[in-house]
């Protein structure tokens, strides 16, 4: 229990290291977009770490950043084509933030600092660790933002073409909440600031 808590909140790439914030802030207007983005990043992270680790002996240090960027952008392009074909609404909802996964600091960061120096299996394990941390962070933030901003939890709507049914839970609807503020960009910044602050307070209180 303790280990899981530490893993999720003390070593989280988003809450603690503050990496990859662009997508965390941009696509989290619904819970569905948040967790699908998390899954996409997790898949790309695992694949890119695997490939980078496999070719680590052939790439010398001077050209490694361009090489890694090509690997990552190839993977992103594959995902883009697949999403465009099989789940168009989700592809449209992500917009420019889907190609922007290429410059997500978490993926390039793990490739440079871990996968380029380690064997394949540890690299895959490392990718899962960071990727799941990112997935939990973005889903949690998306959940808060959608509940406070539109009073619903969208579990399946855009991806209903793939799964076959829609699933949206209504949480509450009164005069104070939902408040559109939390869906706007300012609200996203404030909510993320508060969330990180609260997590810091919990982490500090444990010591």
């Amino acid at each position: 229990m303790r280990k899981i808590y530490d893993f999720l909140f003390k070593e989280n790439p988003v809450f603690v290291l503050v990496l990859g914030l662009c997508s965390v802030l941009a696509v989290t207007t619904t819970f569905e977009k948040s967790y699908t983005m998390g899954i996409v990043v997790l898949i790309i992270l695992v694949l890119s770490n695997t490939i980078v680790s496999l070719i680590r002996k052939f790439v010398n240090t001077e050209i490694r950043i361009p090489v890694y960027i090509i690997i990552i952008s190839t993977l992103v392009t594959i995902i883009e084509i697949l999403l465009n074909k099989y789940s168009k609404p989700l592809y449209d909802a992500f917009g420019i933030y889907l190609p922007l996964i290429v410059v997500n600091c978490i993926i390039l960061g793990r490739a440079l600092s871990f996968a380029s120096k380690n064997k394949v299996l540890p690299s895959i394990k490392d990718a899962f660790k960071s990727g799941i941390g990112y997935l939990v962070a973005i889903s949690l933030f998306g959940l808060f933002r959608e509940v406070l901003g539109s009073g619903k939890i969208t579990i399946m709507n855009d991806i209903s073409i793939l799964t076959g049914y829609r699933f949206i839970i209504d949480v509450f609807n009164n005069e104070v909440l939902p408040n559109k503020l939390f869906l706007s960009s300012g609200g996203a910044f404030i909510l993320l600031g508060l969330l990180i602050g609260v997590i810091n307070a919990f982490n500090g209180g444990d010591e």
Partner: protein
């Protein structure tokens, strides 16, 4: 045209409403000088890569119907271009390199650069409009990062909760700025 410029500058500010370039925004905005340095480097890279990517997209990718290669091509253009700029500045403008040099490698992975270029392509802007949009977005980037660096020096000296120091309070300040910017026009 002027409308596009103003929209890019304030209403759809790259940092505050499109959330691009947050890493460099939080990382380099602790000092006035760093903020301006980063802003100017980003502007130069964005303007020139806007022109390059526009030409590549129009004369190579669209005629050969290989627009699915956009992501790879654009990021390569940016990465190569940043390397070239770094070499040129290092060779001929030593003073400038000493003050801007450290930001240049960071620009490749700055989402603002890639994001602005992708927006230009997605919106099907022609060359002039694309340049105007890029210029507006970059000036918006400089404006926000500069104001924020001034605010941040003040905030650091204030009495705030320990767990909110640093990133959390910066994010909340940015949020308040975003709310103001949205209502400006």
């Amino acid at each position: 045209m002027f409308e596009i410029f103003l929209t890019a500058l304030i209403v759809e500010n790259v940092i505050l409403t499109k959330f691009l370039g947050i890493c460099s925004f939080l990382g380099t905005s602790n000092k006035e000088k760093n903020a301006l340095g980063m802003g100017i480097s980003v502007t130069v890279v964005v303007l020139i890569s806007t022109i390059l990517t526009y030409l590549i997209n129009k004369y190579i990718l669209i005629p050969t119907s290989s627009t699915y290669l956009q992501t790879i091509t654009f990021i390569l253009v940016i990465a190569c271009f940043v390397q070239i700029i770094e070499l040129i500045i290092k060779k001929y403008f030593k003073n400038l390199y000493d003050s801007l040099g450290i930001y240049l490698p960071l620009i490749t992975t700055n989402c603002a650069v890639f994001g602005i270029i992708l927006t230009n392509i997605k919106m099907d802007y022609d060359l002039i409009t694309a340049i105007v949009n890029s210029l507006g977005s970059c000036l918006g980037f400089i404006l926000v990062i500069y104001i924020f660096s001034l605010l941040r020096e003040k905030i650091e000296n204030n009495d705030i909760l320990k767990s909110f120091k640093g990133i959390p309070i910066s994010l909340i300040t940015a949020g308040i700025m975003a709310l103001i910017f949205e209502r400006l026009i």
